[in-house]
Symmetry: D2
Subunit: 394 residues, 4 copies
């Protein structure tokens, strides 16, 4: 039951997010949000803009004295480079100094120009840019704060960059996030990380870009989030929709999804066992985690695991992608915008945000509550009830 | 802007779907809907129930004299086995003759019981069952009829069952659907089809089940459906959400998504070329189709391609999956429900339905229109305009 | 968080409603729903169809053994006159035997024909008819059942028919509903009721119709439903939208809304007092009820009171309303459909349904819960907390 | 299909609105928005803050070089008094210098505190304040710009303040808006305006407040906006919901709604006549306007007319309203916040905004279009088609 809208162009004055539906009494610290934004800038292979700047925030609504008021929260992320773009991106009447007329393959440029009737690709790319994900990360950081009040935490790590894959059997626990963030490529396996860095260096040398895969994990999600009762209430569908909406993402996998497609039923499922200590599972646990914590569209109490695959960035430092100049109708190569070699380390952080937003919304749906006190009280009451011997319908 | 709700339990009297938002004047034939439902029953490896029955339909709202009225369409799919289940599934007060107390791994059973407070897994599985997808297929067949009025068609084929994959370079065209449907496994490659059948036979012999992958393709989607402007308007996100919501689906891939994650940017993108004849692309085409027809969340005019991976069915004809009896707290094996070996051929048909529903809704958003005449007139006017030399903002 | 879709035409085979979002474990009796439907048929001045028939129901989804499953509930209301209409309203291809080409003023006929491109007013009026409200009453009866689990009850009475108004100081309590229903015009004041009946008789004699006003009252709504934080979460806005959507309703008033517009602030507001016994107000009560139980878009714990004004029916038994025949372009009078003199007694029942649906949805939003047990447990916990000394933010 | 979220507290740094769904190419001028905001400050009986300040705007997203980009538009309204409130309303951790513990009757104060768990009424009133409507007016001014491209204009006038009502037979045309705005009370009848001013002076002298009624009129709305097919698509329901959500509004009436409730059907409806010149009616007009331009939930092409009744402001300059101090539990009178005598002139401007937002959204639903060019092209094509002889279903 969270709603959020983001606005702002990549080189506009700022990005803005309004998030509606947070309960009152949630502790919010500007530094915490800024830290999340800084995590989004992490990663070997990012340009210098990413590494040295720190986003400046303005908290303009919904928070008073460090706590939410239950009213919509508005946060603005200022663009430190705005003075350079003030004329080109002005809201006041004017004309662009230079139109970008050769849409880049792999971007929204051409389809966006055709859809919206533009002859300047900038009118599309400014909004299509992954810069927008900063606003999602802000919203996601609030969602994480809410989830923390019921013991849910969301983290991510990089499991592939280009041709280098990390071993699949090594998954960071809730305590390993700092270790992951300290890796230059946010990879939990040190050896793989080194190979990834080498891969990035090689691609950089050739002016090329790289894609990859991030895995996002939500620990502590109680059993019973999402629902099997209607297609658009299934938690896996909601997660897939949210994750696939991230710029440049082309595939989403829950648990061992792709592998399971090749397996037989007798080995692909997670045996159910009694486990008194498994509080998020209500006294039940699984012998394996093939399902990624989701069965029938509902959380099982096991960690929720999703993989998100990103295509290589379509903007290259070496102009090789063939396109057409819309003004002349002639073939040409697509123009260059300043770019990173890969954004997979950041992808994980954005995927955390989207996952947290979906989980916060769906836990609110289950537990209700207008204040954090009420939300978490209802949560505790549910967990206690689960612990009790299951008894039908009374 | 379509909305639809489905209702009904697997062994209840019927499934019902109400679909709201269809324009008036859309031609609807009961036979056409029944044919789509029959396609969902296709496939080697389905049980006898699937092969011999034909669903009986009741069209109870929104259609008069073969055309939609613009009002909500209600369609009921009767359950021919209802007399056998009338007592066990009665809506009137009563008690189940036998409770299912050992939830099956891989299903919504356990989480559903915990979430909703049941002690009989039947209270969950009746709705979680893939039988519900029949209602989606009905809704999808109406969406397909609407899309047909603007030249869009959606089809699917099976590209993997268990360990057998079809060659990736062979994709059915819009004219090949009948050929695909004639294959016992809905595979477009005859050799692969034979291997798939062998795989199914082998699994059947061992009481085991198989997963696989279906590919869904939408031809004729005009450039400009979906949008880059907000995360929840991106067509890839909407598709991923809809496809992942299908029972037993664990991964969704747009275009070459998973492969692209390993590639470099210089080879992963689809070059843009001028092509007067490419009407859905507004005079532009692509040299390749890695992106699956979607860039920046917007259709490019190229065919939209998505792969949907399904885990093997979690109900086996051989009871081996370990679970706990909730009444006794003891370990046991999960109970048997009658089951197929694999549902991948049907998966494709359901994936077509969900894809058609998303595309119908998003094309309506773009073209508006309360009647089919108005909807398609606005479509044609857009396509004509695209053909004109692109000119900004007038 | 309830969603519901209704479908079906006035003379079609049936009306169908699917209601999604009800918790599991809610007790449902077919008789109870049928009783609510019978209440909708009440009222002096209704035609014979209304008085003698009883709607036949089919409960086809979401209910097992007398309780909801948490899955969407589907209910069908069969049309006992269907055999007479089977050809004229068939879903199969065909043509109407007689087109209605002179749209009736005061109905959706003309605008609907223009919007949807019809030349037969029947294509509009079949759905625009107030018969559709039967489906809402069914949905509303489920909402009432849910509300009953937390002590909320919704009732209505007629306060005006034509020129006859009931005294404003007499409002039925929660125990008076039966008395109201026994009145032939559902008026709580016996003297006014007699005058209303006389007014109806007089109008009937002249082939004319009458409008009027019903008042709907919700008792027991706890303080804190709805919210001031966003325009579309205000309970008064949600109620107004739902009530104004009822066929022929042209005005909605909360509390003494219209009167308050003429008053001064010093007398128009409800003084706050401490009242230990006021459990729905959390220990506070009001000295008056001008605000209709709603302040700032939030329930105050006082009874929620809304008035709903209905125009006189636009179909008359005496054809006097001037219109145009769309085929000939000539002036004519609008055609007759069988009609009642007034539908104000039924209006109250429909207004109860819409009010109950809004309140059920918004209480679910606050209290969450997937089962009735969880929903009402969270409710009780909130009420207990309110009773405690208010303490900020912990 | 517009969505918008507003955020910000009355004495916070700013109000923010994000509006999503506007087509590209819409001309936007900051001055135009500022002018609308200035109109909201109009009115005899407003405090000095209203009269002398001009809101300072920041356009931070979705607009480039004077035109929309199709992306979400973000606009911030800065609070010129922020320096005075910076500490009291800081987002950073801290404590209020003085808690407001005696909730004011007639406001969200008490219910809001109970719902959200606050002990300081400021945590509620800052958001519940009518200051928030400034953000709606900004959103509404964009909606008006969009509507202007298809010839729709929305205006309002005051028809009652306290006991003074303007004559009902005098309604400003589309050219009279300036005249209305020049009236100190935004009343179109000069004599009534003088009486209203006298009424305000009298109330002011006694430290009292006044309510009243504004009428909003939309000219040029084409026939066929809204729909009869589903309750939540009826234009009157959507309008009523939007208008009732305005702070202090307690009643909404479409056309002659309240009067119609007392009338007979033979006189209450608007006769249909052929009128070649009536382009918004598609060649049809009405002999009267009792229905307020809406029949069956659909616009008829006649002007849409709604009345909005506002209770007197609940904050008085003379503290008389009885309440309870939540800290002591003792009876007291509610605290004073600086206040106006009446806000009815402003109410009209806010009602215009909400009406424009509903109409913009619903016209977009009908006409689709991603650019203004496409939206208005589809509109023109519809109007042309209407002019043609109505012919069914081709």
């Amino acid at each position: 039951m969270l709603r959020f809208l983001t606005a702002g162009e990549s080189h506009g004055p700022s990005l803005t997010v309004i998030i509606e539906g947070l309960p009152s009494g949630l502790e919010i610290r500007e530094e915490q949000i800024a830290d999340e934004l800084a995590r989004r800038r992490l990663g070997f292979g990012r340009g210098p803009r990413m590494r040295f700047e720190r986003d400046v925030l303005r908290l303009t609504g919904g928070i008073r004295h460090g706590r939410t008021l239950g009213s919509p929260v508005a946060i603005e992320i200022l663009n430190s480079e705005w003075p350079k773009w003030e004329v080109e991106m002005s809201a006041a009447p004017g004309t662009p100094s230079k139109k970008l007329t050769a849409p880049r393959p792999g971007h929204a440029d051409l389809a966006g120009m055709q859809k919206y009737g533009f002859d300047d690709a900038r009118d599309v790319l400014e909004r299509a840019s992954a810069r927008e994900t900063a606003a999602r990360v802000v919203a996601g950081s609030l969602a994480k704060s809410l989830l923390a009040t019921i013991g849910v935490s969301v983290l991510s790590h990089v499991v592939r960059i280009g041709s280098v894959a990390a071993p699949t059997d090594k998954r960071p626990s809730v305590h390993d996030l700092e270790t992951v963030d300290q890796s230059e490529v946010r990879c939990f396996d040190e050896a793989a990380a080194q190979l990834m860095i080498a891969e990035i260096k090689a691609a950089a040398k050739q002016g090329d870009s790289l894609g990859g895969i991030a895995e996002v994990i939500a620990y502590g999600v109680p059993v019973g989030i999402g629902s099997h009762v209607h297609w658009d209430r299934k938690l896996d569908g909601l997660l897939a929709g949210a994750l696939m909406s991230i710029q440049a993402v082309k595939a989403v996998e829950i648990g061992d999804g792709m592998v399971q497609a090749s397996q037989r039923g007798s080995v692909a499922h997670d045996a159910i066992v009694r486990d008194e200590g498994a509080s998020s599972g209500g006294g039940f646990a699984r012998r394996s985690d093939h399902a990624g914590g989701l069965e029938g569209g509902i959380s099982s109490g096991a960690p929720i695991i999703a993989k998100v695959a990103m295509k290589p960035l379509a903007t290259l430092n070496r102009p090789v992608l063939e396109t057409v100049d819309l003004t002349t109708g002639e073939s040409t190569v697509s123009f260059k915008e300043r770019t990173d070699v890969t954004a997979v380390p950041a992808l994980g952080v954005v995927a955390e945000a989207m996952t947290a937003l979906v989980l916060a919304s769906e836990t609110q749906r289950k537990f209700g509550g207008d204040s954090v006190a009420e939300f978490s009280r209802n949560f505790r009451s549910y967990v206690e009830q689960l612990g009790a011997a299951p008894s039908a319908r009374e």
